[in-house]
Each structure stands twice: as structure tokens, then as C-alpha cells.
């Protein structure tokens, strides 16, 4: 029933593009990127991913910048769960693969939604091949390793959305972001629970408030997963 493998995912993305009404050029771009195995994915032009300046016509729109930022985060999460669900650790406890599959589904849906919302402004439209994320810092052969990684990624997501919301100038995009961040928080709480029951909100301090991190802080946390240098030069700071 699930189709976790990369080719299947790309196939699905093709049909998503059709329904979403994107141009033939965009479809061709994606098709070109998934035709065969790409052992060494290459990035067109400079090997620096500058969030916020990659689309000249909309570079001053903070909504597009934040959405691209969120899109990158969701790509990382989806790729992580895709990998885990495709090759789950042997010591998963009963029911845990179902949890991970739900998480994978949600993150992939988030990713595709943001791709839809960005349309031609999606940063990877200008890449010759999709980014292949690097999860070598994680231990994915044990359930503890997998859930520790999941916890880390989900907490990054919560703090990133909480910290970036204030840059949005569109009520609609703020509304959409809010719909996603609470699901990420539900994920984060579950990942914590699986590792240590009762730890669902251990990061919540004496004010009762969750974390919010700046884009610069988040980029430092996700850089190890991304095969190109992420520049924060064009991310909003106020």
C-alpha cells in the first residue's frame, strides 16, 4: 500500500504536478532529475544554496523565503522517514513501523503541499537534480538511533516554524504554517515518548512556552544533512 521508494515518489510527484497545473517545463525538469541513478548529484551554478535570493523576481517577498525554508525542512524530514520506512531497523517494537509510516506520510504531504504553494518559486526548480540529503550522522540501524534522529528533526521543525512565523506578511501563509506546526509538535511529542515515556514536553520551560529558533540557528542545525552550503544571507532577520 505504501510506496516509499524514491522512484515511486518521483512518479507521484509527476502526477502531482499535472494536477497542480504547473507548466511542462517544470515537469520536464523533475523528470530529468529522476531518470536514472545519480550517484553524485550536482547543483547548477554555485554550490551555495542561498535561501531567499534564488528567484530574482520574488527575492524580496519574505513569504516566499519562509516557504522555501519550510520546504527545505520538509524535504529533509520526508527523505529521512522515506529512508527509514524503506529500510527499518530490525529491533523496532510492535507498532513502531506504523508510527514511522504515518510520520513519513505526513512529512511527504507537507513537502508536496509547500511545493504546490511555491509553484515556480520553489528553490529547487533551478537545480539540475534534486538534493540528496546526508543522514550519516544518524544511526539508522537501531530503533533508538532512528527515534533519536526523528526526535531531533521534529524538534528542529517545531522550533523553526515557531521562529519563522513572524516573518510572514500573508495571513493565509501564516494560517497554513500554523496548520503544519502543531502536527510537527504532535510528532515531536510522540518521538520523545517512544524514547522515554513522560518526556513529551521536557523542552518546555517554566514559562510554559515551546522553543522558537531563528533561521540562522536552524540552518546551523540542518547544514550537516544538506549536500550544499546553505547561505543565510538573504533570510529575514527582523
Amino acid at each position: 500500500m505504501h510506496t516509499p521508494s524514491s522512484p515511486a515518489r518521483m512518479l507521484a510527484r509527476r502526477s502531482f504536478f499535472r494536477v497542480a497545473g504547473a507548466g511542462a517545463a517544470a515537469s520536464a525538469l523533475v523528470l530529468a532529475g529522476c531518470g536514472k541513478d545519480d550517484p553524485e548529484p550536482t547543483v547548477a551554478g554555485t554550490p551555495t544554496l542561498t535561501l531567499g535570493s534564488f528567484v530574482t523576481t520574488t527575492s524580496s517577498d519574505p513569504n516566499i523565503t519562509v516557504l522555501n525554508y519550510a520546504y527545505l525542512l520538509e524535504q529533509i524530514e520526508a527523505a529521512f522517514y522515506d529512508k527509514v520506512v524503506a529500510t527499518p531497523p530490525a529491533d523496532l517494537q510492535p507498532g513502531e513501523l506504523a508510527y514511522l509510516t504515518d510520520l513519513r506520510d505526513h512529512e511527504l504531504i507537507h513537502r508536496e503541499y509547500l511545493k504546490y504553494a511555491l509553484g515556480t518559486s520553489a528553490y529547487d526548480n533551478s537545480l539540475s537534480a534534486p538534493l540528496v540529503f546526508n543522514f550519516s550522522t544518524f544511526t539508522l540501524t537501531t530503533r533508538t538511533g532512528v527515534w533519536t534522529a526523528a526526535r531531533q528533526l521534529e524538534e528542529i521543525g517545531v522550533a523553526a516554524y515557531n521562529g519563522a512565523a513572524k516573518y510572514l506578511t500573508s495571513a493565509e501563509h501564516l494560517n497554513a504554517l500554523g496548520k503544519i506546526v502543531s502536527v510537527e509538535a504532535r510528532h515531536a511529542a510522540l518521538a520523545r515518548e517512544v524514547l522515554q515515556p513522560g518526556s513529551f514536553a521536557d523542552n518546555v520551560g517554566t514559562t510554559g512556552l515551546d522553543d522558537a529558533k531563528t533561521p540562522a540557528q536552524i540552518v546551523a542545525l540542518i547544514q550537516p544533512f544538506v549536500p550544499v552550503v546553505i547561505s543565510t544571507a538573504n533570510l529575514p532577520t527582523t
Partner: protein, 338 residues
């Protein structure tokens, strides 16, 4: 003055007039005594109050203080609930444990109890935080007696009677309150955008409510005495409730009372363009202006994901009037808090 004649006239232009007064149409019960108890002179005043309640909230967008005070009321609702159940007399900061509270505590595993106490602490902290943020604009702390968590409107014998002595019922009401809180903060966020610090703080509370909801759902899934609820009993596909809202969750913990928590809201006239309040089973996202958005379930059909995943991936916002109606489930008759 013929009150019912006026109502019938209004109904011609606003068919939902009765729903505005009270979704269960108890307005007629409330009105039955009016003629006897009140003089003709007092009647217009009472009517004014009724109409203000029905229509007043939709006249203009809430201010930042309005949103924060509304959030504060909801936090009082939550904090008093956990306080009454777990320690003290309900008020913020009173931690003396009664015999009844000790008995309820004993029905939870050690870890589950510590989780509930953590949630209780968070909610009390939310009250304190919002009071500090509002300063002199904060509403006065409502009396604990304003609330009846059994849903009995002050009889303490409503559909949730016994919730403070029954662990499963306690968790069911707790989940209902937290899921409501998540939707309420989400609905309020657009009105806080003018103050970035306040918006960020509100979102930081919002995600904590979601953590609470997620945790309460694992407790319900595994049972009050199951320490490792997330990893053992009931885990896996088909176990419910999930840690996230799946479809409309079958109406929630007690559908007769909790279905509106997962249902659609209704957009007040001041709602920003493009923002809607669909039920939690919504699968269409990204509507902006003239763009109707995309039905993700249709667009991503080839993934063969379970249909529910497309609703689970997004929590939906809820508008102030609808949240108020839900919150009034837990207030006594005559309370004007919500």
C-alpha cells in the same frame, strides 16, 4: 413588543438566528421565564444582551488584547480542570492535595501521573504568562465555580459526571480541551501578526498544547496504567486515538459532546480573505485569494497513502465564536465568560 414576531422577521434574513443564540436552541428555555420575571421595561435590556451575544462578536476583528484575553480564558479553563483533578482547590498556585485527588492520582501509572502534572504546570504557567503579557488589560481570574467540567451547566451531573474520580473520563475531557486549545490558538494567530513578539509567544504556547494533546492521546491509547503507552498496548495501525487528529476522529472522546471540537467552524465577517475553518477531515490546502487550493488526497492519489493521512498532516483552525460555544460546554448556566 412581540419578541417572537421580531425573531421571525430576523429569521427571514438570517435563517441561522436561532443557532446564533444557542446552538441547542435552549434559548426558548431561557426565555420561558422572561415574561413573568421581568417588567416590560427590563425586557429590551435583556434582549439587547442576547443580540449582542449573538451578533456582537462578529462586528470587527479582535484586537491583540482581545485575542490574548480569549486565550487567557481558555487557559483558565484548562488550568482549573487539571488543578481540580490533581491538586488544590482549582485556583492557580494552590497545590494542597485532597483525598479525592489522591484517589484519582492512584489510577494513573507513575509516568502518566507525572505527565499530567507536567501538563497542569504548563497550563498554570500559560495563565501566568498571558496575565503578565496583558498587564492591566488582563481579565480578572474567573471563580472556579463558573465552571462545571461534567458538562452539567452547574448541576455537576452532566455527561462527564465522575470525571474527577474516573481516570479514563478525565483523560477524555483533557484531550478534548487540548485539541480545542490547538485549534483556538491557530484561529487567533492572524490577529496577532501586528505584534511579532506576541505572535511568536502565542505560537510557542500553541505547539505546547499540541504536545499535550499528543501525550494525552498516547495515554488514552495505552490506558491510564500503561507507563509505556506509546510503545506497547494498542500501538500501531488501527489503534485509536492516534497522536494526531485523524479525519474528525469519529467525533472525539465523547461524540455527543465533543464532535464540534473536530467539526467545521464558521467564518465571522471580519475573517481575513482566504482563511476558512473547515472540519479536521479537510484535505484541501493552499487556498489563497482566487486560488481554490489543491485537494491533496486527489493530487497525491498515486502515493497510495491512507486517505486519513491527508487530514492528519494538517490541524485546522477554529474561529472564536465556535470555540466559545465549545467552551460553554464547561461553564455554568448564566456564565458570561465565553
Amino acid at each position: 413588543m412581540n419578541f417572537f414576531h421580531i425573531l421571525s422577521e430576523i429569521e427571514k434574513t438570517d435563517p441561522e438566528v436561532f443557532e446564533r443564540f444557542d446552538s441547542r436552541r435552549q434559548v426558548f428555555k431561557h426565555l420561558s421565564g422572561f415574561g413573568k420575571k421581568m417588567t416590560a421595561a427590563a425586557l429590551p435590556l435583556a434582549m439587547g444582551a442576547i443580540f449582542n451575544k449573538a451578533y456582537g462578536q462578529s462586528s470587527s476583528a479582535p484586537s491583540v488584547n482581545d485575542v490574548l484575553n480569549f486565550a487567557l480564558k481558555l487557559e483558565y479553563l484548562e488550568a482549573y480542570f487539571y488543578n481540580i483533578g490533581l491538586s488544590g482547590d482549582g485556583t492557580i498556585g494552590n497545590n494542597t492535595t485532597t483525598a479525592a485527588q489522591t484517589a484519582l492520582r492512584a489510577q494513573f501509572s507513575t509516568t502518566n501521573l507525572s505527565s499530567l502534572l507536567k501538563i497542569r504546570t504548563d497550563e498554570n504557567n500559560h495563565v501566568n504568562f498571558l496575565r503578565t503579557a496583558l498587564g492591566n488589560n488582563a481579565i480578572a481570574a474567573p471563580a472556579v465555580s463558573q465552571f462545571d467540567f461534567t458538562g452539567g451547566k452547574g448541576t455537576n451531573a452532566g455527561p462527564f459526571a465522575g470525571l474527577f474520580s474516573n481516570a479514563a473520563l478525565f483523560l477524555a475531557v483533557a484531550q478534548s480541551l487540548e485539541d480545542t486549545g490547538v485549534r483556538a490558538y491557530k484561529g487567533g494567530a492572524p490577529y496577532l501578526a501586528s505584534n511579532k513578539d506576541i505572535l511568536t509567544a502565542a505560537l510557542n504556547i500553541h505547539s505546547v498544547e499540541a504536545r499535550h494533546a499528543s501525550r494525552l492521546r498516547t495515554m488514552r491509547r495505552g490506558g491510564p496504567l500503561n507507563n509505556a503507552a506509546s510503545g506497547t498496548a494498542g500501538a500501531g495501525t488501527g489503534a485509536s486515538p492516534k497522536s494526531w487528529i485523524s479525519g474528525t476522529d469519529g467525533g472525539g472522546a465523547s461524540p455527543a459532546q465533543t464532535a464540534p471540537i473536530y467539526g467545521a467552524g464558521s467564518a465571522p465577517t471580519y475573517t481575513p480573505a482566504g482563511i476558512t475553518f473547515p472540519a479536521e477531515d479537510n484535505v484541501t490546502q493552499g487556498a489563497t485569494g482566487a486560488n481554490p487550493g489543491v485537494n491533496l488526497q486527489t493530487a497525491l492519489a498515486s502515493l497510495n497513502f491512507p486517505a486519513a493521512a491527508f487530514s492528519e498532516a494538517f490541524d485546522e483552525p477554529l474561529d472564536v465564536p465556535t470555540v466559545s460555544t465549545i467552551a460553554r460546554t464547561f461553564t455554568i448556566t448564566g456564565s458570561t465568560l465565553f
